[in-house]
Symmetry: C2
Subunit: 311 residues, 2 copies
């Protein structure tokens, strides 16, 4: 999916109808991230036609919509623009207003929150509060979980790129692999889920830190990637860094890449407890899912691998 955001000025956020293609409005009384996440997953089902621009789509996120006037304005605008509307509205009267307005103005609408909230309500045998997040009077105590996540993020930032190998033993997860296998974004992704992550770059000709072999091998994950794809990524990287001549040659040259990946494979083979994760063609969140599945698996040895949380 080729996706371009407002921030590079490629699109005027107000005047989308000019651009052709279909619009999806996402409306939330909260942040809108739930609607955005769900719509993005659904759009994954159409990327065969999105990528070659057979069916251009634009999404428009309206967050913090907690009064019926603005809600009506947005749905009216959707009607004018021929957009569909996806919404998450905690207050049942707001959700009902949206439903009715969509019906009247003939806007195709999908309520993302109500079906799951109702199912959970039936399951728990209690009623939903009907209060949007951020509503006054809502209890938003600083939980243990909140502090744990922040600590994980700060830990992870400090350990990035092999800094502080003396702290590897404090990490929950240690990632290792050659340059541009996605260690940094993956570390950050996992950190936001509450895991302290350290990453150790493998560079041919430079010895990996001793600590890597002294810590619990069950928490180390090796990353590997197809050499041709790695070259593409390294080219992009070299361009960004403004590399020229020598540096560029050895960094993104195929012969060097192959040797470096072989060096990594040999190291992985010498440490057979480390799972080796193939990252080629995987999004960061996909690799993260694979790693967390293995991590929880090793921890719990369940018959059915799962990630569990208690609320």
């Amino acid at each position: 999916t080729v996706q371009r955001e407002e921030i590079d000025d490629e699109m005027d956020g107000c005047d989308v109808t000019d651009e052709g293609g279909k619009s999806i409005y996402m409306v939330s009384d909260g942040t809108g991230w739930t609607a955005e996440h769900t719509v993005t997953a659904a759009l994954g089902q159409f990327d065969y036609c999105l990528v070659d621009r057979g069916c251009p789509v634009s999404t428009h996120l309206f967050s913090g919509i907690d009064d019926v006037e603005r809600l009506m304005e947005i749905i009216k605008q959707a009607a004018r623009e021929g957009a569909m509307v996806v919404y998450t509205l905690a207050e049942s009267s707001m959700a009902e207003s949206a439903r009715q307005a969509c019906k009247i103005w003939e806007v195709p609408c999908t309520d993302i929150l109500s079906p799951i909230t109702e199912a959970v309500a039936n399951h728990l045998g209690v009623s939903p509060s009907g209060l949007p997040r951020g509503a006054p009077g809502r209890n938003s105590a600083l939980s243990e979980d909140y502090f744990k996540r922040i600590e994980a993020i700060e830990f992870t930032i400090k350990q990035d790129d092999g800094a502080l190998p003396q702290n590897l033993h404090k990490a929950d997860i240690v990632l290792t692999g050659v340059s541009r296998t996605g260690k940094t974004p993956l570390s950050i992704y996992l950190a936001q889920k509450g895991y302290k992550v350290a990453n150790v770059p493998l560079v041919m000709g430079i010895k990996a830190p001793k600590a890597l072999f002294e810590i619990d091998p069950e928490k180390v994950f090796g990353l590997t990637i197809n050499p041709v794809v790695l070259q593409t990524i390294r080219w992009a990287r070299a361009k960004t860094l403004g590399f020229h001549g020598e540096a560029k040659t050895s960094y993104s040259e195929m012969d060097h890449i192959r040797k470096e990946l072989e060096y990594a494979s040999t190291l992985f083979a010498q440490n057979p407890v480390w799972p080796v994760i193939e990252v080629t063609g995987k999004a960061i969140e996909e690799t993260a899912a694979v790693i967390l599945r293995l991590y929880q698996d090793r921890k719990n040895r369940c018959s059915m691998p799962r990630i569990s949380k208690r609320y």
Copy 2:
């Protein structure tokens, strides 16, 4: 919501029935993050009863479930455990199998992906591919967007905590505020959405870097927080860092906190273009939503603030 994850060993991921409370199974042929995100939003509607443990809930995420045998095993297990099931399955035959199995074994089930996918299909006038993410043959090209996000994350990590003030002008967004207003986790959250973020800590008695006043003021955001809440957070912080005596006193002492917040307010008042964001009681993603709404607003001057993307 008090939420505890597996990683602190407080719960055996396999044996949840012992613990009492209700289970929610989340099943995906992909990462499971969409289901998790949606369920977390829905659980927000029940936190009045979750927090005081009136209705304990545990969630169990099963990711990468792309064959019907494992799917059936999970639903059978849900039936045994009295769990409800929430699923996202791209292949229509898999979704249909889940639906039928839930019916036969009397498991309450909610399909999160199909309703939105069908609505989008109708809107676009094309059929969904039915291919789960990560399915062989799916096009997962390294998009411009992918590189932009990675660059944003790497940029943001390097600028954390006022490092490299000479790079402030390269940032899309600059956050400033006193210690523990959430600058770091917020920066990282925004970076993952593709924005290059720098953050500049305000410390009483230390002059803020000159660059902060030389860059485009439209991209600077001030963060402020209630002093009592800040003290709680600083206490937690001091404990984590192992502060004692002097340092702790001035850092988390109320008088010092009030003065430091006043110092920040004065600075904000001197720079009236900077929006001042109140972070008290807000989750990181909520503050991020507020900032991005203002950011896009200033950029586009729409009559209806929105964040737009093109696919």
